[in-house]
Symmetry: C2
Subunit: 427 residues, 2 copies
């Protein structure tokens, strides 16, 4: 397949590079089942359809609004049937989303014993252990402290685990959808530790660890190294402008930017400063990674740099030849995204994608690259480089380093196959 | 009332400046009706309440999630009863929101003839008039073009019109809630004009105007000066990550960053390039501002710099003396926010607030200032300065310049009165 010449990076490609759009009957990305429903009119005489002639729906029909019924297929989905309904996950529909933020109704879920129903007036956060003046905070106490709002991604460490043994055939929602990005508002962990008088450990001693515990029936519990999180961890009560959603930790959760999802403990009820990790169930029987040599990686917190093409991706169909933007997301738990490269020939050649908008620390970054689909088969891939210089590995590189026993932290380059029919497959 | 010493601007105030919180029984901002429901436990012996002992709700109970039932009061509301249900508005609950983004379910509504029900497969955008090759675009055509995502505020030009004649007594949702901020995704207007071959006006002629028309039954129609919008206008199909909501223009709307809300035409069906404004109904009988001398200001597009304190604000009650953060929003239709100042003595003295997080072009910016409430009455105010150097005016200055006949573009400094009881009033 001839590869389109490498473009000079710029925010919007010139008309010259999109010229085929004007020459060919255009189509676009459509969901496979809807193919043909929206034939282009570019070559017909200009016909301007009339607007509505009947009054529309009144305001306040929905004091809290919902998506159009035409978008009813854009929902969270589970990748499989789980034996216990509360110990399960549902995934964000990345192929149907735009930009970098996830609407609260579509933020992925992963719970260990379901979503507790918590009355915020009764909820408390205790901070105790190796602190000078242990305290219990009400929600009103917390909202009364100085707050901070920041945009960060959340990714479950099990995200994309489906691909360890090769292409799963699943669409991007089910391979990469344990991934969301929100603006979080709350109090800095460092501010809260000041409120309890600071740490009571001996001067000069290491700052130690902190146990975070949820109020759910699983008592989800993780040990976190204070040195690595104090500059950025938040105890948050709001996401994307409003109070947390029940399934995202209402009324309070921990946000540890860049760390694997489960450490961002939901329904947060307790922070205990300790001098060593407590080896809880979730850091021994779960959330460790068994290597090929039989040893396990433990306390692997940061999510390494990763990217994925969300459009076109499996379930989309290319309806005509010509210009398409290749669009996707990149992120790193260790900093910002420095570069995203895209290949349309299975990784033989790469070119820089445009990074769309603001590149934010430990947040999703959208990218785009121009592509002319000539109607042949193609394999489209993306790879991210983060601010530490780390380059997203191939699957072969990842398996060589980690073996095939790991369930977590799969971040290899993802390839989608484009068929001559326009179908896009994970194969 | 003694004023707290001006703090050195920093992102988070030191514990020293919040010291009263640890000494006094704390309370916080509570909705007036809930006062007393959440007494602090700071002075009690540390009691860590148990977490849940019963399994929680399963995932996928709500494939598209909703807020907690405990947040049922956080909804859009109308400021008055409108004679026609589709020619009305509902406002964003700013006093209950956090950070800078508005969840899609709470983005303000203002329609002239209700919300049309549009099938995106049938929707078309025509671009015609003084362009070389007029065209009609399907939604799939548009999604196939290079896209861009940007965070911008939307403000109705009628926002805060309630205060022209002095304090209305209304809470901030009803005085300032025709204001929202989203991440918008779509195609640059300049890209679309390239797709129709560029303008067909004579070389060197002014670039002229563009008529934008909605598909609603009001056929909402505005003329826009191309020179002032081509560098930043977007034709968008998504907000905050997902497709537009029906009441926000589904499936397509215009976003003209910084311009008054009605020019961001919803349900966009037509863009016609013309050589002069068309003097439509919405720019003659409406959306002009009658001055004191009987002349009207017409085509006043940019929303001038403005700010408002959202917490505490009317409806909140301060439950104990001591430290409170004063939190609010600032924005400008002419660029970024350079500075926000806060006064707690009715405007006699001012101090700089901290700007929280990233300051974005033509987007809401959150601010915070520290305050010790000593239990006396107080008048709390904020004023914004934007990147052009423009300072938000007092009401007296605004009335001196514009008189009392204007309905639109009220952006004066807003004062809230704090009573000794802790009640906060718009008086």
């Amino acid at each position: 397949m001839p590869n389109f010449p490498k473009p000079t990076p710029e925010r919007v490609p010139s008309r010259g590079r999109r010229r085929l759009l004007g020459r060919l009957a255009a189509g676009g990305f459509v969901a496979s089942q809807a193919a043909g429903a929206a034939a282009s009119e570019l070559l017909k005489p200009l016909e301007i359809a009339p607007g509505s002639r009947v009054p529309g729906a009144p305001v306040l029909d929905h004091p809290y609004g919902l998506p159009s019924p035409h978008e009813a297929q854009v929902v969270r989905r589970a990748a499989r049937v789980w034996p216990l309904p509360g110990a399960a996950s549902s995934l964000t529909p990345l192929a149907d989303l735009y930009g970098t933020l996830t609407p609260n109704g579509l933020v992925y879920e992963r719970h260990h014993n379901g979503v507790p129903d918590i009355d915020p007036a009764q909820h408390r956060l205790a901070i105790h252990g190796l602190v000078r003046t242990p305290k219990v905070f009400t929600m009103d106490d917390l909202v009364r402290l100085p707050s901070e709002s920041r945009i960060h991604f959340l990714e479950c460490s099990g995200n994309t685990g489906s691909e360890w043994n090769g292409p799963s055939g699943l669409p991007v929602q089910l391979t990469h959808g344990l991934l969301s990005c929100c603006e979080w508002t709350g109090v800095r962990l460092s501010t809260l530790l000041e409120e309890v008088g600071g740490l009571s450990s001996a001067p000069g001693a290491p700052r130690g660890w902190m146990l975070a515990e949820g109020a759910d029936a699983a008592a989800m519990t993780r040990s976190l190294p204070l040195d690595r999180i104090l500059d950025r961890a938040l105890v948050v009560y709001a996401q994307n402008g409003e109070r947390l959603r029940p399934e995202n930790g209402y009324p309070l959760r921990l946000i540890v930017p860049g760390f694997e999802g489960n450490t961002n403990v939901k329904w947060l009820r307790r922070l205990k400063v300790v001098d060593a990790p407590l080896e809880t169930r979730e850091e021994t029987s779960k959330y460790t990674s068994l290597l090929g040599n039989g040893c396990a990686r433990q306390f692997v917190f940061e999510m390494d740099a990763k990217s994925v093409i969300t459009r076109p991706s499996p379930g989309h169909r290319l309806t005509t030849h010509g210009y398409y933007p290749i669009t996707g997301l990149a992120w790193s738990g260790r900093g910002t995204i420095r570069k995203v490269e895209v290949s349309t020939d299975g990784g033989a050649t790469w070119r820089d994608a445009r990074l769309d908008g603001t590149v934010r620390d430990r947040a999703l970054t959208a990218f785009q690259a121009d592509w002319y689909w000539d109607g042949g088969t193609a394999a489209i891939l993306s790879r991210a480089t983060d601010s530490t210089g780390y380059l997203q590995p191939t699957r072969a590189e990842l398996v060589a380093a980690r073996g095939l026993n790991s369930q977590y932290h799969y971040n290899a380059i993802q390839s989608w196959r484009v068929e001559a029919s326009g179908e896009v497959l994970n194969a």
